[in-house]
């Protein structure tokens, strides 16, 4: 069995396992390459029709290309899409220009997601995070419990050996399930190519620049690149030395440092 098929099988096994264990499950779709890959795997796992809702957390600051892509796929793949927005804060004008980026992310992403989880009483969410994405994710498990405050106690999680996933959930908790945790950035692109997956055009080079990671328009900057096809991207990633999220404003450790400095009045 080739490498990509192995990765795919493992992911599909986890998706089916999760669906089997949790009644109120949903998948979080950011419209980026990773969660679109996960969406594709979910479709494969259930032969084209996904039996649970897909959540898009809409900060209202996403690129227009992303909204277009989302709506096209919903129609084409017949998805049950739930949109999570923190209307209250958006009405108050929350945005990256108002307050800090940290507050903006916290309100428009984290709190919006909290509301969706409460509203639909979700006990599990599938997410497209990958282990190689960021240092803080290196300790993630496939089945990762969170408490009602979204806190992740990474020092207290069950071992995952021989595909024996710990998937019991306590009250007030929900599980985060990461079916593509074992994919690397390169794997994702190789898989996108093999499967002929549609992808948001922002990833391809325009005027010498392309986005390597996408999110909200004000907080993402493109990298210098001439990669116009998926083959070009694969080649670029194979040889690059900069990190995938270098174009992203947010970095967890910096955010915490900022919080701590602020609390003592140093910023």
């Amino acid at each position: 069995m080739d490498h990509l098929t192995k990765l795919e099988n493992k992911s599909i096994y986890i998706i089916r396992e999760a669906y089997n264990r949790f009644k109120n499950i949903a998948m979080l779709w950011s419209v980026g390459k990773d969660s679109t890959t996960l969406l594709w795997l979910c479709r494969k796992a259930f032969f084209g029709h996904i039996p649970f809702p897909i959540i898009h957390i809409d900060t209202s600051y996403k690129f227009p290309e992303m909204y277009r892509f989302r709506d096209d796929r919903v129609k084409e793949w017949n998805l049950n899409l739930l949109i999570g927005r923190n209307e209250e804060k958006l009405d108050q004008g929350m945005g990256p220009g108002q307050g800090s980026k940290l507050d903006c992310c916290n309100e428009l992403k984290t709190n919006a997601l909290k509301r969706v989880i409460q509203k639909y009483r979700l006990t599990a969410i599938l997410l497209g995070i990958r282990r190689d994405e960021h240092g803080i994710r290196a300790k993630e498990r496939y089945f990762s419990p969170r408490d009602s405050q979204f806190k992740w106690d990474y020092e207290n999680q069950p071992a995952e050996l021989w595909d024996q996933y710990q998937s019991m959930v306590e009250e007030e908790e929900h599980f985060r399930i990461h079916p593509i945790l074992h994919f690397t950035e390169l794997d994702v692109w190789s898989y996108v190519k093999r499967e002929g997956l549609p992808i948001v055009p922002l990833y391809f080079s325009k005027n010498g620049k392309r986005f390597r990671s996408i999110g909200c328009a004000p907080c993402c900057s493109p990298i210098d690149s001439n990669a116009q096809t998926i083959d070009d991207i694969v080649e670029e990633i194979r040889t690059t030395k900069t990190s995938e999220r270098s174009g992203r404003a947010q970095d967890k450790e910096n955010i915490y440092t900022m919080q701590k400095l602020r609390a003592l009045g140093y910023m």
């Binding site: 990256p96 220009g97 800090s100 980026k101 020092e155 004000p218 404003a249 450790e253 910096n254 915490y256 440092t257 900022m258 919080q259 701590k260 400095l261 609390a263 003592l264 009045g265 140093y266 910023m267």
Partner: protein
Amino acid sequence: MIIGLDGVPHSLLRAYIENGLMPNLKHILSQGFVLHRMDASVPDVSSVSWTSFNTGVNPGEHGIYGFTDLKPKTYSLYFPNSTDIQAPTIWETLGKTGQKSSTLFQKYHQKVKRPCRSIILNVPHTYPALPMNGILVSGFVAIDLKKATFPESVYPYLQSIDYLIDVEAEKAKQNKGAFMESLFECFEIRKKAISHFLTEESWDLFFACITETDRLHHFFFDASTDKDNPYHESFIRFYTELDKFIKILYDGFCEISHEKGFFMILSDHGFAPIKQEVYINPFLKEKGFLALKEEGEFYEKIGEETRAFNLDPCRVYIHDKDAYPRGKVSMEEKPEVLRKVREALTTLTGENGEKVIDRIYPKEEIYQGPQTRGAPDLVCLPNDGYDLKGSLEKKKVFGRSQFAGMHTWHDAFCVLSPSIPLAEKPSIENMAEHIIKYFTQ
């Protein structure tokens, strides 16, 4: 042995010793130690002051000027950490593990006969923990305990006692009483960890910092002498607990060194009550030196018309053409802009016509070394009571917040043996040399 007491002022310590609140420290002083008043680094923030102490050199050599710094090319803010320090620390020099060099290092490294083992606990600005000869647990601003620990084998112990790197200062905003409680809890854990390493490990240099004092002062300094303040009793209780712990450490030191070793207690800056917070950027804006754009975060907002801007607490940078993409100030114009900014800053007056700024230093006057390129063009020290801040978001020049105390430059302290020759008013930068000298005698 070195005991660091973050943010403890000489004046307060002297008063508490005289009032009989710190009998153990008084006893230590009677054993032949002297309490000196000491100058902190400029600026007087912990990251700079402790780094100056740890390396024994000037910021112009070690390269740390604050908790925050700017990348000139993109105007983006970053947080310097231990990997940005350009000079070796005492423990790197004594442990013979460092690869860096400094004027102090060159003077002494050949005289260090054998590699010394150090235990360095909770010293600010040592995160992430870099490999060294001994054990290091980083202090503020450490984020991830695992990355704050060297060697990794120490981590399970810290985890087992639920070690805390710092109190949650966020708490103080919502509930001051609960925050006071958590200061004591955090101090307990700190004492436990420090005592553990003191007795369970062998060492040549033992250096532990208590940082709860600084947090206590930030939020409760008004309670230090005011008997009617609701937190006065807790404030005093903290100092008596601290006094007891100093005795435990001193006894441990005497037992191991048979009173022949080197013993020192010091703080990295003083503290004073706040009258007003002073936001330098809105002031520069008012005076026409600073123009901000709508877009961008923090200093990315700096517009083309900006001639000068400030980083916390009062580090003024000229927006010059050569260093910054949007800078318009040429080399020829720079001295004139500097003069005007200086002039404006000296006119800054507080509540009752009091002068806010006490001293203004041009960088050439206070910083020497290869890292002066990143140094601020001007650094100001305020008169006590005026807490200078770097905030870009404030609209007004003056304000107040939940903070009760501010750092002072002139009122740090050190306790040392009288056999150590000191200047009339020593500076924290010059202390490391005495420690290294002790090991090379």
